[in-house]
């Protein structure tokens, strides 16, 4: 009897994932950890100790960097920009530059040297001394869009709120 735990990259039919399950879980845990770090001071997370599943932020960043998966890197980098705006620290700055460097290597934007890619993300926090976290997030996405496609993204707004 075939179980989902036995499925890897079967290919064809579009039913199965293009990564193996162990990798999927590893990337998922890393992303959850990065997102958790940015929300740990918000209710309801702030009312509880960190779940055992959450990785240290540095370890989660290393998993994302090592993934070389563009979708994973975008999610992590954009959210870390949110976090940096909400919780500025040297630690976050260093980790953000690691993510930007990994993202830049993957994207390989024509005409953009690696230091310039880092600089364009740093400018989010230099142009505005106290950026709103959601504005920082949107700025990150706009920069990614410009680097990847050369187009200007008009992301007007994006908000996520608890409905409960």
């Amino acid at each position: 009897m075939k179980r989902v735990s036995d499925w890897t990259m079967e290919g064809g039919g579009g039913r199965t994932s293009r990564v193996d399950r162990a990798t999927a879980h590893r990337w998922n845990r890393a992303l959850l950890s990065i997102y958790y770090y940015g929300r740990r001071h918000q209710a309801p997370l702030s009312r509880h100790p960190p779940p055992a599943q959450v990785l240290p932020l540095e370890a989660a960043i290393q998993v994302v960097v090592g993934s070389r998966a563009l979708g994973v890197l975008r999610l992590a980098l954009a959210d870390l920009c949110r976090t940096r705006a909400a919780q500025p620290s040297t630690r976050i700055e260093v980790l953000m530059r690691e993510l930007v460097a990994a993202y830049g290597r993957l994207v390989g934007a024509p005409g953009w040297a690696a230091p310039d890619i880092v600089e364009t993300f740093e400018r989010i926090f230099r142009d505005d001394a106290t950026p709103d976290p959601e504005e920082a997030y949107q700025q990150a996405i706009r920069r990614m869009k410009e680097l990847e496609s050369g187009t200007v993204l008009q992301l007007i707004s994006f908000t996520v709120q608890t409905a409960s």
Binding site: S17, N28, A69, G71, R74, F158, V160
Partner: protein, 202 residues
């Protein structure tokens, strides 16, 4: 246990069509394998058509369309672009757990509106160190993209979810749902803004 319930809205210049793939769950396992390991439409209850594939070895309930042996994969229906209420099977990746879940979904795909609605049918099992029966008792929401009068695209996504397995970790899993849901929302937004094909190695 109180469910995690969120609503997200986005507004951007672009086309409703750019969100077509993001709001099609049949592509989620391809575009975000770190969130969905598998997604497909299920063959309707009582069907024995030649179009269905992968019937579970021990058969399917004619009333529910669910496999008699819950560890087996439900029979698959052909993929399509829009559908009236149809059961969808998803294998959801959440930390080191895999939730094999069935939702009732419907999808509209029109030039000025794309919408996906889903609601919980039954969670077959949670694959952890040991498989557990069930795992989700509430999962409902929608994703809707519409063209506004000013030509912009408005995306609204909602999700309310509650986990029941693994029993020893339900408190932590439901706490992390407050992280997982915003992550899913961001994936949908990114998929619409950037397109797809970036989920695997560059």
């Amino acid at each position: 246990m109180r469910p995690a319930s969120y609503r997200g809205t986005a507004s951007f210049a672009g086309s409703v069509a750019s969100l077509s793939r993001a709001l099609n769950p049949l592509h989620w396992h391809e575009d975000a394998p770190y969130l969905w390991f598998e997604t497909y439409l299920m063959a309707p209850a009582g069907s024995r058509g030649a179009a269905e594939t992968g019937a579970p070895p021990h058969g399917t309930s004619p009333d529910t369309g669910l496999p008699w042996f819950r560890a087996e994969a439900p029979a698959q229906a052909p993929a399509r672009d829009c559908w009236t209420p149809t059961q969808l099977f998803e294998a959801v990746v959440f930390d080191h757990y895999l939730y094999r879940n069935v939702l009732l979904t419907d999808r509209v795909n029109q030039p000025d509106k794309i919408s996906l609605h889903y609601s919980q049918v039954e969670c077959l099992e949670t694959v952890a160190r040991r498989p557990c029966d069930g795992g989700i008792d509430l999962d409902v929401g929608e994703g809707t993209a519409t063209r506004e009068p000013d030509g912009t695209v408005r995306l609204v996504v909602t999700k309310t979810i509650r986990f029941t397995q693994p029993q020893a970790a339900t408190a932590e899993v439901n706490l992390l749902a407050h992280v997982m849901v915003p992550l899913c929302f961001d994936f949908w937004l990114h998929a619409g803004l950037f397109g797809t094909g970036g989920s695997t190695h560059g």
